[in-house]
């Protein structure tokens, strides 16, 4: 239950009023969506989670569906998503977001339901729930934040960790002969008939952000039309555990991540 006493831990949470310092000379060109709670997020500087939160909430604001949208937060760095998104939300157990979403959506088929999940959450512990929800064509949106590591637990190998990539549990680099190759979740899931729209995007440049936003808009629109499951994979980052600056992380995405996880639409509905 959201109560006054329920505040966020650990990080100092200063309420930041959107301020334009010199309103005479400057024109306000961007504001945080009104569908977001006006607090500072706990994410590391440069982390893609905060940006993707905002993109989703921008779409909710633009479509004016705040009243009809229910989100499911995962276990991962975005576990506190419900502290930031000003909509009704449920916190799922690790990996079970798609089962929780199914429980909600089956009973409220006209509400917009989305899950927000990391790669450990979705592709390791929760792959069964994810696959079956998609196979059933649950009319939900799955936002899949792939940063190739377990961010929250400090950078262990994920199912999506690149071949040869160093993590705390693959200190010599991911050995595919031992752990298998990184799972291409979107390609895998696109094979299921229940998957209506599958797209892999990134948020490491202005253009990439625009494309991600467009993909999210499409997904919400398809949900409105009761089309089936939409899966938007977003190549995120984890500067802290990749041990890179945010700029280096952005470069790493363009130079390395996209080789394994090529960007673009993977399954596009015809004639919609």
């Amino acid at each position: 239950m959201p109560t006054e006493e329920h505040v966020l831990p650990d990080t100092a949470l200063d309420v930041i009023a959107p301020a334009c310092h010199d309103e005479e000379e400057y024109e306000m060109v961007y504001h945080k969506p009104t569908t977001m709670v006006n607090v500072a997020m706990h994410y590391c500087p440069g982390c893609a989670h905060s940006l993707v939160h905002k993109l989703i909430m921008e779409v909710v604001e633009e479509m004016d569906i705040q009243e009809n949208t229910i989100g499911i937060a995962p276990v991962g760095c975005s576990v506190f998503a419900y502290e930031y998104m000003d909509i009704d939300m449920q916190e799922a157990a690790h990996g079970r977001a798609c089962a929780v979403a199914t429980g909600i959506k089956k009973l409220m088929p006209d509400k917009y339901v989305f899950t927000y999940q990391g790669d450990g959450d979705l592709a390791a512990i929760g792959i069964a729930e994810t696959l079956h929800a998609i196979n059933r064509g649950e009319n939900i949106l799955i936002v899949f934040m792939n940063n190739a590591v377990y961010g929250m637990t400090s950078g262990q190998m994920a199912p999506t960790t690149l071949a040869g990539m160093h993590t705390t549990t693959s200190p010599d680099g991911r050995d595919v002969s031992y752990y298998g190759a990184p799972i291409k979740v979107s390609e895998l899931m696109a094979n299921l008939p229940g998957a209506f729209y599958v797209s892999r995007q990134a948020v490491n440049s202005a253009n990439a952000v625009r494309r991600t936003k467009k993909a999210l808009q499409n997904a919400f629109k398809y949900q409105q039309l009761h089309k089936g499951t939409c899966l938007i994979e977003i190549i995120g980052n984890c500067p802290s555990n990749w041990k890179m600056t945010p700029v280096e992380a952005s470069k790493f995405i363009d130079e390395e991540m996209v080789k394994t996880f090529p960007l673009g639409d993977i399954k596009v509905p015809k004639g919609v």
Partner: protein, 355 residues
Amino acid sequence: MTETKLMKGNEAMAEAAILAGCDAYFGYPITPQSEVLEYLAREMPKHNRIVMQAESEVASINMVYGAAGAGFRAMTSSSSPGISLMQEGISYIAGAELPCLIVNVNRAGPGLGTIQPGQGDYFQSVKGGGHGDYKMIVLAPASVQEMADFVYLGFDLADKYRNPVLMLSDGAIGQMMEKVQFKPYTRPAVDKSWATTGKPKTRNRNYITSLFIQPERMEQHNLKLEEKFKKIRENEVRFEEINTADAEYLFVAYGLSARICQKAMDIARDKGIKIGLLRPITLYPYPYKRLEELAAQVKMMLSVELNSGQMVEDVRLAVNGKVPVEFYGRMGGMMPTPEEIVHHLETLIQYHHAN
């Protein structure tokens, strides 16, 4: 007049779920309770309710979480191995204070065990099978009629306390056919303004969570839960007593073993042994107080269970050494005959008399 029907326990439970206004059932096949999913797969759509065969019990319980969090009456059922798989989800449900009904048609274990009835899941059910400090209200039916009645009761208690309720049945009661009546039922009005139904402009957002990362807040939440469990212990203890008025000895047994003890009691009484039966109906909260009172009256208690001796620990806790508390049980899906129990009782009486 309410019509009397002849039904299997599992089917009576399923029918009661429909009559109780269960909005959604999520389940996964497992013997000896697959009839529940089969029955509801056939019947729920006729009432425009949701029924779903999930990909696993892990999924079922998390679907229940989602539906219950959205304010709906949701339920799942399974048998022992499936209930083990649900424990994480149950802990989350208890932590997030969601009302729902879970039914365990107990089979004998451990491991894959056997599909025959057992009571080996007592500890798991009443002591908190999942992680963390939480309790479920646990109802133990001893007849097909009670399997139906406890669905209404279970949902109502779940709503009243915003807590998961477990019905702990077993493979025999689930499978046997008996007469059952479905009494008229009206669902009490409950406030579910906490549910995630979509946030209108007029209220703050609702969220369902069991996460309180600051220790101070987590402890506050724990204390709030404890307060609730205390209320449950004060208000919801249920049990049945037979022949206790003049009893010198006492059987303590629940569910199927209570049924067998009833027969054993008749045989023993014919032999002149003044024995009564206390049958806990709620296994949590447990009738400690009544057992403590009876300890001042009887010379010995005998806990009869289909396990290696689990509930007997609670009987001993209640009696606190005042009188001997003995145990008799069979395992592996084997059931004691009433004669076998009486024989054991007689041996114990002689032993305690001599000592």
